[in-house]
Symmetry: C2
């Protein structure tokens, strides 16, 4: 046993975060925006001894005989059940998608539950059954788990953590820092549905047509994309969850030190999502998705990759939405439908807390 | 996108749990005892499509070129800081130990944080810094993470999930179902310290001498054990956390359908732990440990394994505490210091909630 304890006392810890008015955790620190990035770069990465390199959706580890991808996500969505899904399939598909966006084929998931005492067993059972069905539908087994229960009031119903492992095929090297000028930016389908589905049920708002979560596993779509044009054709993949399409595109622009030009008119936003966002004062480009990805593809392969996506059930509405440029590195701009240009920037915190 | 949603509604879920007075989650469902087992076997395993096989500390996955172990644990310990450690090193060492008890050498950890809005950044920073130091001390990097923040009152300060991946060396096949009659049962050192450390600070009780958590990573000890007598010599390993030594031994007896005979007088219980347990009305054999393991070793190799443990800094107080027998399969009995014999059985729920 170690005689030199590693435990650090709060009184001895020196806060490296940029000066804020409060020395407390804000809701926005979990929002996937600027505050989240500050927390990761200034608190977690120094603590864990990592450099502030490009943040990939998964880490890639060498096992000695191959490469595996490893990822984790906790889910705190409220309400637990919403149109088209619940916290269970969200947790399964979300972690599969983080692996897929590293180009990995998922081979196993973990399931960790933190449960508030008194939760109805029917609720827990329905979530677990949904997770099992989602895992079976994706062909990725849940292989191990953990359950903790905290007293009444110690948690809000149910939190689910899923971690996942995938195998990275030879030749695949996908990451945000690999985007290159000339790359074609493709989104796999309609955006904004998940966030609007949550908001509609949370706020009790009826938008006429029900908007359902788009939660879906994307590893098969990614496999089809890589098969269509070879593993080197796809430079970057990201699933635009918290912070939406904007957060993904800006993070990639910054990681690769390139500019991104989006064509707003080309971005597929369903009419129901657009009107709901207009009503709620939200930008659909900043609303979370749970079954979409954005791909940065070498221009000579873009046509083949787009065709493969459209031929796949998870990418029928795929569309080219922009291009990588040498101008304004680290920044994304959008050409509006009116022909003007605007800078797109992430939120400081989050539009919608507890969206996933 | 799938046209047949996988989401299961609570109203449609049929509860397969044994009849209890309440259809709600109880604190004891997270306690690592009989209720926990019921929840896993009757709710999670059917939901996830798994058979109720032996519950290993990690799942073993085949990558195509080798075997990896995968595990997850959430930590909800209260208070966050306690003598000798905090939730951070507990989360790092605990997941390393789950991998080690599958015979795997850990190669990477994930860190998932669920944070209550308003938590002092100094507290989060001290926990993260402790995790980094613990990971560095163990030589196992934290490679990826996730942060969620929930509103004030939505969680109790801070929950930490760690998942981990390890490589399983060729020839290693360690699991609870592999215990065999004749096996020698060895514990790696003093038991009961972690649970008593938590209780002493939680209850504000002064036992004279401070009892500190035993939190420590055990993968190097396991490597030394496997090197001492070959990978086939060690049949079963388990770290006796929630539910203590009793829960581990009973679970192994049941998984392998063997009997276990413990010699209570041989079990190393520090005087401070014994007196604290006596005061609190606890059985030290049921108190959680976070830096100990119990090993079931083929008799012809027991001496070599014990010597290797005692020669290792994490196993200096290792002791033979019992033996596997053909009698009373699925049951553990203890010979008391008075020469009598008693059946040792797990708690229904838990002695100490939120101990890890």
């Amino acid at each position: 046993m170690s005689e030199t304890p590693v435990s650090v006392d709060p009184a001895d810890w020196v806060c490296p975060l940029p000066l804020r008015e409060t020395r407390r955790v804000l809701l926005g620190h979990g929002g996937g925006g600027v505050l989240s990035e500050e927390l990761i770069e200034n608190l977690f990465l120094p603590a864990f001894g990592g450099a502030a390199g490009p943040s990939r959706d998964s880490a890639v580890l060498h096992t000695g005989t191959g490469r595996i991808a490893l990822t984790t996500d906790s889910y705190v969505v409220q309400p637990l059940f919403f149109p088209g899904g619940n916290i269970g399939d969200l947790a399964v598909n979300g972690t599969i998608n983080d692996l897929a966006c590293s180009g990995a084929q998922p081979i196993g998931l973990t399931a960790g539950f933190i449960i508030e005492e008194g939760l109805e067993l029917d609720v827990l059972g329905a979530v677990a059954a949904t997770m099992g069905k989602a895992a079976a539908a994706a062909g990725v087994p849940i292989v191990t788990g953990d359950t903790k229960v905290v007293g009444k009031g110690g948690a809000d119903q149910l939190f689910v953590n899923t971690a996942g492992v995938g195998v990275v095929p030879d030749g695949v090297d996908i990451g945000p820092e690999r985007a290159r000028p000339g790359d074609v930016v493709i989104v796999s389908g309609d955006i904004g549905e998940h966030g609007v589905a949550i908001m509609s049920v949370r706020e009790g708002i009826d938008f006429g047509t029900e908007v359902r979560t788009d939660s879906a596993p994307l590893h098969r779509l990614v496999a089809a994309m890589l098969a269509a044009a070879g593993p080197a054709a796809v430079h970057t993949l990201r699933d635009p969850t918290r912070g939406g399409l904007v957060a993904s595109v800006v993070e990639i622009a910054r990681a690769a030190s390139v500019g991104v030009q989006l064509d707003e008119a080309a971005i597929p936003v369903p009419e129901t999502v657009a009107s709901a966002c207009s009503f709620l004062g939200l930008d659909p480009l900043q609303v979370a998705n749970e079954g979409k990805l954005v791909a940065f593809v070498a221009p000579e392969h873009a046509e083949a990759v787009l065709a493969a996506m459209r031929a796949h059930p998870d990418g029928t509405a795929a569309a080219v939405i922009g291009r990588v440029v040498e101008d304004h590195p680290g920044m994304a701009v959008a050409r509006t439908p009116f022909g003007t240009t605007r800078v797109v920037e992430r939120e400081l915190g989050e539009q919608l807390p507890r969206i996933c």
